[in-house]
């Protein structure tokens, strides 16, 4: 029997995916507060979709699709600029690693290299390894075939390796 989406299960979905959706926005917008606002809007819009009587095939995928649409609406700025702004403001990799200096240095190296990647590779690498989306989920969101996405991720990582080796 398929699980029903009711209040309880929706809140469970929130508990499961809130951090991931927050991360999705955090590395794309320049402000923690904006990332939180957009995250909340994502869940509200998703709930509204259900209130309107529509069906959701897969809640996780749907949340990411809503997030992606919100991101497009919110800003036409490219990821490069957001990552550059993050660098300028002082990158905050995460609550549990803030105090680790080597992580801050690594994070800056990672951002530098990510900024240098081709746009089409950068986006899928972020979605795969920061947002934790599968190639299949990414493919639906970027409207490409899944294998194309897998290959882009692979080539993006190859480029990153080459750039990191060049920079060291």
């Amino acid at each position: 029997m398929k699980p029903m989406l009711n209040d309880e299960s929706f809140i469970k979905a929130y508990d499961s995916h809130a951090d991931a959706i927050f991360r999705y926005f955090y590395y794309r917008v320049s402000s923690r507060e904006q990332a939180k606002d957009l995250s909340q809007e994502t869940f509200i819009r998703t709930w509204q979709y259900l209130v309107d009587g529509k069906q959701i095939l897969n809640i996780r995928a749907f949340l990411y699709q809503v997030a992606r649409n919100l991101m497009v609406d919110f800003s036409r700025k490219k990821t490069t600029e957001s990552l550059e702004v993050l660098q300028e403001k002082g990158f905050d990799p995460g609550a549990d690693t803030r105090k680790q200096l080597h992580t801050a240095i690594d994070a800056n190296a990672a951002l530098t290299v990510l900024n240098q990647l081709d746009e089409k590779y950068r986006e899928v690498v972020l979605m795969r390894f920061v947002d934790g989306l599968s190639p299949k989920e990414i493919a639906k969101m970027v409207e490409e075939n899944e294998n194309v996405v897998s290959v882009r991720i692979h080539r993006g990582l190859k480029q990153m390796r080459a750039l990191l080796e060049k920079n060291t």
Binding site: V148, S150, V151
Partner: protein, 380 residues
């Protein structure tokens, strides 16, 4: 190196909401939900799998007409047999992948049997790619089409492995994961032998896909090892013990197979197989090593890699004997006339095998003539 890059990125980008932020947002969301209640319970539906490939088939009218005509007038078994040697771009190829393979998937009853069939499907796609490379017919279109299908089978495999893990069936999860990785690695080596032009776009699509899937497979194997590490000591010991036995049995089996098959293999294949078997042996020793007292998860990892290496060796042996044969299938569509008058399709399958001493030629001709004009005379 690719694994460390992925870990590197994952470890750097780990921002999350604080507990307070999480609860605040949750509270606001709950208020909104109370103010905008659902009208009636909504089902979280998921697409059912099963015969979706077959359903896709029946939505293609022209193809359905041809396939149904063939099957009804000629006999399903003849058409499905002829389809087995079809390659991407051939008329019967959709029957091979959407009908034959769907039917065989339906026959596989247990989840493990279904997963093993999916590995076979991955292999079939890769063998088709290798045949196309051999015949100089691999192009960007068919390489993308092949890798798309291969990606679908790989996805199903990953889902199956996740399900096995959810059910705590580590034995099945690890076996399927090892067999899958071995298939990818073995065929990557074979393709490298068949084609040396690394700039060819169609080959790059294929090899990049294989490597991408292999990297994802590494992640999957890591989650299996993590699962073992999280088990109770008793269950973890059982998982390791089972894995050890599977790895040793596999190694013995393939060593015996290699001994029999080696005279018929070329030098490169022989060297590759030897290297994999040597690696498998040393990994088994490593897993068993009492010096340094490896953790259970380290031992499991060693046995898993040993299993994978032995399986890869077996696949290389199998392909080594087939590399000596060239299978050529030529489908000739003579004429498709007016659909109301007649459809005549000639299919000719030619099989040629070569040996090092002499060339043997076996020709099987299957001629299908379907004349729907007058009295539906069929000559077989």
């Amino acid at each position: 190196m690719s694994r460390s890059i992925r870990k590197f990125i994952k470890n750097i980008f780990r921002a999350q909401l604080t507990d307070e932020e999480h609860l605040t947002m949750r509270g606001a969301l709950q208020i909104f939900m109370r103010e905008h209640p659902l009208q009636s319970p909504v089902h979280d539906t998921e697409k059912t799998s099963g015969f979706s490939g077959f359903l896709l088939l029946v939505r293609r009218p022209l193809f359905v007409m041809v396939a149904l005509v063939l099957m009804v007038l000629v006999g399903t078994s003849t058409v499905t047999y002829a389809a087995e040697s079809a390659l991407p771009g051939d008329l019967l190829y959709p029957i091979k992948v959407n009908v034959n393979e769907s039917l065989r998937a339906a026959v596989a009853i247990s989840p493990k049997a279904k997963a093993e069939w999916n590995i076979t499907r991955v292999e079939r796609r890769l063998q088709e790619a290798e045949t196309l490379i051999d015949e100089g017919k691999l192009d960007t279109d068919n390489s993308l089409a092949l890798t798309e299908r291969f990606g679908d089978h790989s996805d199903e495999l990953r889902t199956a492995i996740e399900n096995f893990q959810s059910n705590d069936d580590i034995a099945a999860a690890s076996q399927i994961a090892a067999d899958f990785q071995a298939t990818l690695n073995a065929h990557n080596k074979i393709i490298a032998r068949l084609h040396h032009d690394s700039d060819d776009e169609s080959i790059l699509n294929l090899t990049d896909s294989l490597e991408a899937q292999s990297e994802t497979g590494d992640d999957v194997e890591s989650t299996i090892v993590a699962h073992v590490a999280a088990q109770s000591d008793e269950n973890a010991e059982l998982s390791v013990s089972n894995k050890r036995q599977v790895a040793k049995d596999k190694l013995q089996e393939v060593q015996a197979h290699f001994k029999r098959a080696q005279p018929g293999l070329d030098a490169i294949t022989s060297a590759q197989v030897g290297a994999e078997l040597e690696q498998a042996s040393s990994l088994v020793l490593q897993g068993d090593s009492s010096s340094g007292t490896p953790s259970l998860s380290d031992s499991f990892t060693s046995f898993q890699k040993a299993h994978r290496a032995a399986q890869e060796a077996q696949l290389l042996i199998k392909s080594g004997t087939q590399l000596k044969k060239r299978v050529r299938t030529t489908d000739k569509i003579k004429r498709v006339e007016n659909a109301n008058s007649s459809i005549r399709i000639d299919a000719k399958t030619e099989q040629k095998s070569t040996s090092t001493d002499q060339e043997k030629r076996n020709t099987n001709e299957i001629k299908l003539k379907i004349d729907t004009r007058n009295d539906s005379k069929i000559d077989l």
